[in-house]
Symmetry: none
Subunit: 368 residues, 2 copies
DNA sequence: TTAGCATATGAATCTCCTC
DNA sequence: TGAGGAGATTCATATGCTA
């Protein structure tokens, strides 16, 4: 039985999943009644042919009917409509999060601004394990973008600065979040053992969103509920959720998922932290950053070999080209070589290991 | 004295800084003549009263009734105008990069798509040393967004995949780039010792952009040249630059900066190339040259299949005949197959890939 | 039991040349 | 201009099988 909360303009059903069209559903709810909206709308990917991995396996593309739009115009119309309904529903001090990729996020961001929302941050979800670009034709698409916006430029939105700082090992939370994609046990499966939803978001992402921008007891609405990640995290964190989902199959999975979720005890909300590994530094970074000049000469530690630095961070020595490790190994006739300790460069008259420059970069990357 | 390059439609001034309005300047240059455009447009969208029209006049903001819609409208008009001029100027296989923050990037991204550009990636510049958010009211704004787009969805844009992979320690380059902001010695100062430009970009950022998406000798245009970071990196990397900058003070700093830049040695500018650039070798050549005997047996790398070499350079395996690729694909039930790496032949008791023989032929073909 | 190897897969706008 | 053929191309995880 759904809890109901009395509002100025009527009743708001809480902790429920509603079916049907999200615009109609939102318009049927009382205005100015929701604290936060998290929206993961269709991305309008516009995929054409099939794509195979180098091992010839086929990539399971997002080709679902709900992601197909005829044009940017029809996608913009769709965005304006659901954003208007979302805006009506939000309390004056409420906020909205929208997630997307380069296919749609510029459209959505513009529509959001046109509707009068006030952008607070754009937040980059940097995926620690994205799918690579198999054909080597573009950069690995390794991130998605979220927009966090208040209802107006004067709204007093919720921002739990200290909680996010604590989540981030005592350092102010930045606008780029490194989190793994949703897979393994967390990834919901259907009766056939296939993924229940093509684009399930990781709970860690919603955890950070809700910890940072809601209070316990707040009402969080997700108009594109899918398999209910927003609801699951909200319930666990002691927030109320309202999900809207058109597809019966997704609703069914979400209902089952949510029934099994238990709210955290307050003391369980503390986050554990882990020691971070030494960040890896690419040799090319030294070149890009100007710490090593393109064309500079490097010498081996034993003084027997030399090489020249190229613009892409590779070395050339006589007829050998490659990474600092490859060229070192080739010149020494060795199976492998740690180029960082093998090569030296000239600084103030002395030949010193290039590893010193790596340490310098790492020092800059480290938290204060 | 500026170099000039003869084009179909007229002369293109190279390695120069042009003054005046960028739209008018671009429209005065020959169409389809530029390989790459890097643009860092102004985005003072929400600094009330500081919005610039294309003619550099300021929009009069009414303090109490500031009209967001009008402001976005005039910014969009500005974006459409300079993007149209940029598009005209680009070669059909040229590309554009635009950088911005959440204040303007959604507007620019939408305008870019509306103008017909085809987005290839959005790239996040993740600042390793951003300015913190002092008031603790939002997340640290620790990144900026770049959009990389081709002139059309069928364009053959330049992408030096192997060079970027080499810059990234042998791992495919991702869409998130960690680089420090421009400060220290690199940050240009004016005569008073103040920073010469408020948003000077780091050369490392441009290094990666130009290494990844241009070739030596390409023409790179920057319509918002500022103090000339694009030109500085282009010159060093052996690319031509054209800068357009309206402010005399910035031009002056840029001129001095560029005069001091020296180009890297030519051999340092060579970057790692892909196998696609290697000369093509027909499998039949191996047979003709006697490197593989007619009737010799080949085995698949996984050991599951075998085939026999025929006199015309095709293979036969049971009822399947055809090229090394076709037979491999048929036997594996795969949509395609690279026969060079799929098939092995027996040499001195070991089964080794036939690709070794191709490499042998290529070595003989290569200049000494 | 476990280490090691093979296999599976994730919001993807993913080729190019010749006839 | 379209069809067909050559042949280039992947990173981080999770799971399951084998020795």
């Amino acid at each position: 039985m759904a809890i109901r909360q009395k509002n100025d303009t009527g009743d708001l059903p809480l902790d429920v999943i509603l079916d049907g069209d999200c615009v109609a559903r939102m318009n049927a709810l009382p205005e100015n009644s929701v604290d936060l909206i998290f929206a993961d709308p269709p991305y309008n990917l516009q995929l054409k042919g099939e794509l195979h991995r180098p091992d010839n396996s086929k990539v399971d593309a997002v080709d679902d009917h709900w992601d197909r739009f005829n044009s940017f115009n029809s996608y913009d119309k769709f965005s304006r409509e659901w954003l208007a309904a979302a805006r009506r529903l939000l309390k004056p001090n409420g906020a909205i999060w929208v997630i997307g990729s380069y296919h749609n996020i510029f459209r959505v961001g513009s529509a959001l601004q046109d509707a009068g929302f006030w952008i607070l941050n754009d937040v980059v979800w940097r995926k620690s394990n994205p799918m690579p670009n198999f054909r080597g034709k573009r950069l690995t698409n390794a991130h998605e973008t979220m927009i966090w916006a208040a209802k107006s430029d004067t709204a007093k939105y919720t921002f739990n600065y200290e909680a996010l700082k604590a989540l981030n090992e005592g350092v102010q939370m930045r606008s780029d979040w490194v989190l793994p994609i949703c897979n393994g046990n967390e990834r919901l499966k259907d009766d056939n053992g296939d993924k229940a939803h093509p684009t399930q978001k990781p709970e860690s992402l919603l955890h950070r969103v809700l910890i940072g921008s809601t209070k316990p007891g707040d009402v969080v609405l997700d108009p594109f509920f899918g398999t209910g990640t927003t609801g699951a995290v909200a319930k666990r964190l002691g927030r109320h959720y309202i999900g809207i989902e058109r597809e019966a199959a997704y609703r069914k999975v979400a209902e089952k998922r949510l029934a099994a979720i238990k709210r955290y005890d307050r003391d369980a909300l503390e986050v554990s932290t882990s020691k971070r590994a030494e960040p890896r530094v690419a040799f090319g970074t030294l070149v890009e950053r100007g710490l090593l000049r393109v064309g500079a000469e490097l010498r081996s530690l034993n003084g027997r070999h030399k090489a020249k630095v190229r613009a892409d961070g590779t070395l050339v020595a006589f007829d050998t080209k490659g990474s600092i490790h490859q060229v070192g190994a080739a010149l020494e006739g060795a199976p492998s070589c740690n180029g960082w300790t093998y090569w030296t460069f000239k600084r103030s008259g002395d030949w010193v290991p290039i590893d010193l420059l790596r340490q310098q970069i790492r020092a800059e990357m480290a938290p204060a």
